[in-house]
């Protein structure tokens, strides 16, 4: 143990005496480790960010889209002649036991004029359930009422981004905005909800679906673009999905196994598909970073081999005065591991700096996990042992007589 300790000290000394070379050699590892840590943090951060965004859509949410069947033939006869409707939404809420509530949604992006400006904003038509289903809260004023929905009243609620565009610095409640030739009274503002995976959720104006269909985007009957459903709980989502599917198939005349004209997606599925994308992306980037780590490791091996050749005589001297092959091997292995570990520590430090910089300057969401740091350090250790082994072995198996004769 003592001689091992002393051997480590000697390894450190010989590294320090060739300080410039040791530092340069560890640079390869430093960059590799920094790349791995930064990329991991980026992946973790992005994944977390998207998870938050998906969560911000609402809770236990199920989306039902209208998606016309691509095949020619029976279209128009079945499927109620087109999109989903208010009645579909009501039927789901009524008949599916696992469903808590349903809501309808249609949108269009169009020009809106206020007393002080105009801008293109997402105009959403929805029913009274929409606010609960999607988790929108009123900041000031109030939601529209059931009777306003039935009478197609010209009232609207407005999100923060839309306020910034149309009523900068003003209190919009009670003011009017104009869409096409119709004025609407702003009856409430929405609490900011932030980015969803699809859009800025605050860049919108919400009005009763009847008003939307009558004036903003004239629509036949009670058609809607989207039916939003909430399940009673997270683990009832699969049951709710099955029930919705059955109800809509029956209403729209599709038998079991036939491809229907609607699609059901859950929040979970969004989450999973996003996770899969980020998983692939992260794996790809880590692959690239690993290659740079490998190149760094080869660099360490190269320098260690040069070092063994240069110090052949020193190795011979050490052997002559009683160093065992294992002592020589340990010394060179410690030198290699010290180089890579130094690179690992500095690389991690660099990565922390880069992460903080990107967060502060570019507002990227990155999350550095302690386990990533641990993995980075263990990796640099493993790289040192792996790429240091062969040179160390070569040093240890030198013939002392040959080594002493070496010039």
């Amino acid at each position: 143990m003592r001689r091992a300790g002393a051997t480590v000290v000697m390894a450190m000394r010989s590294l320090l005496s060739a300080g410039g070379r040791s530092a340069l050699t560890s640079l390869g590892i430093l960059i590799g480790i920094a790349a791995v840590v930064v990329v991991t943090a980026l992946g973790t951060g992005a994944r977390q960010n998207v998870a938050d965004q998906i969560q911000s859509l609402g809770q236990n949410l199920i989306f039902v889209f209208y998606q016309p069947v691509a095949k020619s033939g029976a279209r128009g006869v079945r499927g109620g002649g087109g999109g989903l409707s208010d009645r579909d939404a009501r039927a789901i809420a009524r008949e599916a036991p696992a469903v808590e509530e349903s809501s309808v949604y249609s949108d269009v992006r169009t020009q809106v004029v206020s007393e002080v400006g105009n801008a293109r904003v997402q105009i959403v038509g929805a029913d009274v359930n929409y606010f609960r289903v999607r988790g929108f809260r009123v900041a000031q004023g109030r939601e529209f009422t059931e009777s306003e929905q039935q009478t197609k009243a010209k009232v609207a609620l407005i999100g923060q981004t839309a306020i910034d565009k149309l009523f900068p610095g003003l209190d919009p409640v009670g003011r009017y905005l104009r869409i096409g030739k119709h004025p609407y009274r702003v009856i409430g503002t929405l609490q900011p909800k932030g980015q969803s995976p699809f859009e800025d959720q605050d860049d919108r104006i919400i009005m009763p679906i009847g008003s939307w269909r009558a004036r903003v985007a004239p629509t036949r009957g009670d058609r809607v673009q989207l039916v939003l459903v909430t399940a009673k709980s997270a683990h009832q989502i699969p049951a709710a999905t099955r029930q919705i599917d059955a109800i809509l198939r029956q209403r729209r005349g599709f038998v079991e196994g036939e491809e229907p004209d609607f699609r059901i997606r859950t929040q979970d599925e969004f989450q999973r598909s996003q996770d899969a994308i980020f998983g692939i992306l992260t794996a790809l980037l880590i692959g690239v970073a690993t290659i740079s780590l490998f190149v760094g490791g080869v660099g360490v091996m190269n320098i260690m081999l040069v070092s063994v050749t240069e110090r052949t005589r020193e190795i011979g001297i050490r052997m002559a005065i009683g160093a065992r092959p294992a002592d020589i091997q340990l010394q060179f292995l410690v030198e290699a591991v010290t180089i890579t570990l130094f690179g690992g520590v500095m690389g991690t430090a660099l990565a922390v700096g880069v992460i903080e910089l990107l967060k502060a300057q570019l507002g990227w969401s990155m999350a550095l996990s302690p386990s990533a740091v641990g993995v980075a350090l263990v990796t640099s250790l493993v790289v040192g042992v792996t790429f240091g082994f062969w040179p160390a072995r070569r040093a240890a198996t030198l013939d002392p007589i040959e080594a002493l004769r070496h010039e």
């Binding site: 003592r2 001689r3 002393a6 051997t7 000697m10 000394r13 005496s17 005589r313 020193e314 011979g316 001297i317 050490r318 052997m319 002559a320 005065i321 009683g322 160093a323 065992r324 092959p325 294992a326 002592d327 002392p400 007589i401 002493l404």
Partner: protein, 244 residues
């Protein structure tokens, strides 16, 4: 007198391409404790091979080697390292000190491989340097020392483990005459006063004349093995040279 070295019928073959070169042929040799011996011979005579075998750096092809009554003929690399560390000190023509390493650190190196603790190492290394008259050069690196001083550091390194055998391969080859006698005087005193067996490989008759016994190697055999009736005193010779 107890024999420190006993070689019996030792031969050493080397493969040189398709041929086998016999570097040593059936050598018998006994050296007692405290003897000061010169090994002389032309290059290619086999004296280097003989010294490598005596130093446990190499193994004989046949025959046996007993060092201090222990059979060390065919030991594995680890055990030979142990024998070298415990029993043998080496002094080389080119000094072979570690560069950019202080005299003290050079001298304590064999103790590191013996597993001696740090403070004990420092103490014994300092004492060995004192014994060769270099107490005031402890923290100098080889580059800051003269040739004679470097060779004395090398001797201190060879002695620090108190080995019974010291092998010196052309120890004065890189030194001027006066310094050569200085170094030789140290080796003489080791044999006479400390009972250490010292073998010196040399090709200089003046150096050999300072030893008690001259072994001449030729064509892989010991050709002559003669006593020196009145070895010359190296210290005296050095003083004379210093005076002139």
């Amino acid at each position: 007198m107890a024999e420190l070295i006993r070689l019996r019928d030792v031969s050493k073959d080397y493969a040189s391409g398709p041929e086998i070169v016999r570097a040593l042929r059936n050598v018998d040799l006994d050296v007692g404790a405290g003897e000061l011996v010169a090994v002389v011979g032309a290059s290619g005579s086999g004296k280097s091979t003989l010294m490598n075998i005596l130093g446990c750096l190499d193994r004989p092809t046949s025959g046996s080697y007993h060092l201090a009554e222990v059979d060390v003929t065919r030991r594995a690399a680890d055990e030979r390292a142990l024998v070298r560390n415990r029993m043998i000190g080496f002094v080389f023509q080119g000094f072979n000190l570690l560069a950019r390493t202080t005299a003290l650190d050079n001298v304590e190196l064999p103790l590191v491989y013996r597993g001696v603790g740090r403070s004990e190492r420092k103490r014994r290394a300092a004492r060995a340097l004192e014994a060769v008259g270099l107490s005031d050069r402890v923290l100098h690196t080889p580059a800051q020392l003269s040739g004679g001083q470097q060779q004395r550091v090398a001797i201190a390194r060879a002695l620090v483990t108190s080995p019974p055998l010291l092998l010196a391969d052309e120890p004065t080859g890189n030194l001027d005459t006066k310094t050569s006698y200085d170094v030789l005087a140290v080796l003489q005193s080791l044999a006479r006063e400390h009972g250490i067996t010292v073998l010196i490989v040399t090709h200089e008759p003046e150096i050999a004349a300072c030893t008690e016994r001259i072994i001449t190697v030729r064509d892989g055999r010991i050709e002559r093995d003669e006593r020196v009736d009145s070895p010359r005193d190296a210290r005296q010779l050095a003083l004379e040279l210093g005076a002139s």
